[in-house]
Symmetry: C2
Subunit: 249 residues, 2 copies
């Protein structure tokens, strides 16, 4: 290594950017670790896509990051989820059999209980796209904002999934390619993420989490409930507007 | 297990169907093993897509199989390969640094040599799509027609890649989902595939392998050269037409 005034950083990283608070915080975490950022946003037919795109784009602009946008219909055409299909309505958190965990409840819930919002093998698809982009653009890492509260219902958010995927990256890319899958919050709760996001000054007004596509956010779907719970736990008001902000918890 | 007159078969299988001889033979192999078949064909921007689609569709019709067609632009937009991008011409086998192996040469060639036709992380992307479809449709297996002559230049065609991907499937799908990745020819040569295909009466007139998009097939690109070599080795004439059929070998 030569002695220079400007030591090189860890390189460049692709961030799977959904527009929500988890991936936004993950992007700021990657930047804090010194990576040049490439936001990678996928339109896969989710109902809330226009809001998600708008937020991911605004976050990339805030971070002065590259922005890569992919559109694909293959997950929506499978129609296995209420997030993409027309056949199921997104349930309210209060009505669902899927309890909203509080911050202390980060253990796995019943591993056999798959929520209706489960998109089959989604993270494998999103990571595969991001790794292909990373390989073609000589990036060093792919960041994903998975966290522990999704371990129960979403198998592709668990540490063992990401460990297995790392092995697929190591064996399935060119021999001189080295890309690290990084899920910095995989053992964290959503409240932990909000705490770290506050430290990093993440602009949460530029995020969207609601599973429904009306503005303002509904405040009652599972995703809104978890988000509001996290802000409640850190003692701050969520900066976005809600149609129906429940007295919480 | 109950005693019935009609024992159930192994179930249903998704076949990654490119339209070429490897995946066609793989589909017939899966059918010979008793699976109900779902052809899964992806248009990802490859130059030869219209011929590939036409052939995959015709094979599915021959086998009375379901046919699922996905269009996505994300691999083409990355533009890392001469198969999808506009910046590189597909090389002739005779001009390339990538020698066409003969049937006996099934060892790995230089693992650092990545051909221009390499699409970054392609098989991870195709398998991820197929597994999502398989999970949503309660299929039991995903078949892929990889073979040993691609081990050198294409890391995502090697046994260790498929073994790693199986672990991603096991960890990343719902806990009551069990999908086997099957690559029946992963240790076979293209000649071995042609031998098996002859046994299975695969209609090779309904296949397309050429990397160029003109009809008839060029006869000189790497893929044509390998295909012609396989037919030469089994002592049969390839039933498709060629612009330039070399005296071989």
């Amino acid at each position: 290594m030569t002695d220079t005034d400007q030591p090189s950083g860890p390189g460049s990283a692709v961030v799977l950017a959904s527009g929500g608070i988890d991936s936004a915080t993950t992007a700021y975490e990657a930047r804090a670790r010194g990576y040049d950022l490439h936001f990678f946003h996928t339109s896969y037919g989710q109902h809330t896509e226009s809001k998600e795109y708008e937020c991911a784009r605004a976050q990339a602009d805030e971070l002065d990051a590259a922005f890569h946008h992919v559109e694909t219909d293959h997950l929506a055409r499978i129609d296995g989820s209420s997030l993409t299909g027309e056949s199921e309505a997104v349930p309210d958190a209060a009505d669902a059999d899927e309890p909203v965990p509080d911050a202390a409840d980060t253990d796995e819930t019943d591993p056999n209980e798959t929520p209706s919002t489960y998109v089959p093998f989604r993270n494998a698809n999103l990571l595969s796209m991001a790794v292909a982009y990373a390989e073609a653009n000589d990036c060093d890492a792919v960041f994903v904002g998975a966290h522990s509260e999704d371990h129960g219902g979403y198998p592709d958010c668990r540490p063992r999934f990401f460990e297995a995927f790392q092995r697929v990256v190591d064996t399935g890319t060119a021999d001189d390619t080295h890309i690290q899958i990084q899920a910095p919050f995989v053992e964290a709760s959503k409240t932990d993420i909000a705490v770290r996001g506050r430290e990093l000054a993440v602009p949460y007004e530029l995020t969207w989490s609601c599973y429904r596509d009306d503005e303002p956010a509904c405040g009652t779907c599972d995703s809104c409930a978890r988000r509001l719970n996290a802000f409640q736990n850190i003692g701050e008001r969520d900066p976005i507007e809600y149609t129906d902000r429940p007295s919480h918890p």
